[in-house]
Amino acid sequence: MRFRDLAFLVVSNLRRMKLRLALTSLGVVIGTSAIVLMVSLGIGLQANLTTSLGDLGAATHITVMPGGMETGMPDEGQLTDAALERFETIEHVEAVMPMTYVMSAQGARYKRYESYMNIMGVPMDAFEAFGYELESGRLPRTDSEVLLGAAVPTSFAAGDSATQAGPSGRLKLDLLGKRLDLTLMMWPSEEEMQKDPMAQGTERKQRLTVVGILAPTDMQTDQTAYVTLDAAHAMNGATRRTTAYENVVVKADSTRNVTAIEDEISGQGFFTFSSQSMLKELNTVFLIIQGVLGALGAIAMLVAALGIANTMTMSIYERTREIGIMKAVGASNRQIKRVFLGEAAIIGVLGGIGGLTFSWAGAALANLFVQSLIASQAGSSGGVMPETSAFFQIPVWLALFAIVFASGIGLLAGVLPAVRAANLDPLTALRHE
């Protein structure tokens, strides 16, 4: 039998049962839509989170912290200058920047405005090597100068309402060249605590001049103010220059090499963190989420497959005599099987196409709804519209997979009925009323 004739036979058979075809395909439409929408939600969520993850730090940056109880390692896991020099020699490392967190910082005041930004001490030459761009001004040269992250000028709030600092976006101060008054809390050292367990911390004031403002980069950097390393040490009350850093940022030449560098550094006994490694872990989580969502869709698909099997079984029962006739005029078992497999597959294909169309429409609608929801919320709080990509994303591979999968399910569901039809005894079939 020629393929064209088979197709003709299949199509003309299906035309005889339009309603049943529609209803059975609807089952596949629902199954396909469930799978596609669930998986596309997984993909969308992942894409969105991956985008916002970029805010946690540039993709090529690795944050290194002192190691734990590792012994036998050089420097005993301490971030010494020697360790930093070693990091610089690792292949694909572009720059290394130690950071000292100003723990004593309590807040900064400008006129009647207050902000609680993070303050970090960094070597300014390394800072430049990291490729941060200035929006205005210059890098600090002395210990009384400060460089502000892009979001810091918007983090100030007036007087009493300053309890919650953050980029509210309502107020943007022009701080370049202005003086900020820092409040530092000097906590008693361990020795002092031993002498007097009731020892209280003492407040100290420090005045800094804003000499530059950074262009917006990642969220972390945007909300931090930068001073020189020496200034940071002094603010923390350190009497002499410390020999080890709390925090070092290593910049890879490309995101591809982040993992290798990270492995090398953690192999030397340090704790490392990067948005890349975070992403890897998140991907595992999302694989599980997608799997679970996909499994829910698969159940819907299973029900649809049962529907196809049921429809085919019914229609084969009704057409038993016809099968007998076809066999009498020379149809082989294989040809009969193909006819019914073809019918089942077409039900699957139609359902797949329908399901995909429905999913596309549904995803577009849902995305529109979610985006308008976000827009209205952002609008009412006076904030800026956050950048989100679509929550339901149907990539081409998913669309193709849906069609192929639905046809496959149809074919599979048709196997048992088709084999039954093919193996019918022609005489029994001919006697069937």
């Binding site: 004739d5 003309s12 149809a331 082989s332 078992n333 005489l427």
Partner: protein, 231 residues
Amino acid sequence: MTTAVQVTGLTRQYVMGGEPLEVLRGVDLSIAYGEIVCVMGPSGSGKSTLLNIVGGLDRPTSGSVVVAGSDLARMDDEQLAVYRRRQVGFVFQSFNLIGTMTARRNVELPLLFSGEPEDQRTARAAAALQAVGLGHRLDHKPTELSGGEQQRVAIARASVNEPAIMLADEPTGNLDTHTGQEILSLITSMNAEGRTFLITTHDRAVAKAVAHRIVTIVDGAIARIEQGGTL
């Protein structure tokens, strides 16, 4: 005349409710090309079983059935299907046309399964319908045709593949006497053009009208063979 069908020592046994039932017990029969053989006998005598076995729809329990030189007993399901497609034409009492297909489509069916290209197929089907006097009814569905016309379509379908033998099981059983006569004269005229027929009937008048030989089967065995009225 050469032999179209050679049946030798044919037996067929069914198991009914655990009891073996001998439907055919040692039938020997040979049919020459161009012959019309009628098989008569009461219901349950085994005449339809004989027809079905010769037509490749049923299998013998023992014995051999050689049609156009090949032994059916040695064929598997697939080969039997090809055999039915090429060497046999079936005509049933209840016509057995496919209701959703036009007359032409019904007649095309054997050619469709043998993979004949569409243009040749439709031409041959049209010619076959023309030959049974239905050239003007090509695109009618069975429900739009009378009983006699439907049986003509069935005969056209049975002959379209130029079979070695045409098998008809009570071909006039569902028709009134007049229409039955028309079908019988169609069979006679097709026979005159060289077609070979094996026909079952319980109506002696039918057998007398067309048969060269009349074979009477009683209880699964041939009781007698007589020369028909046409010889």
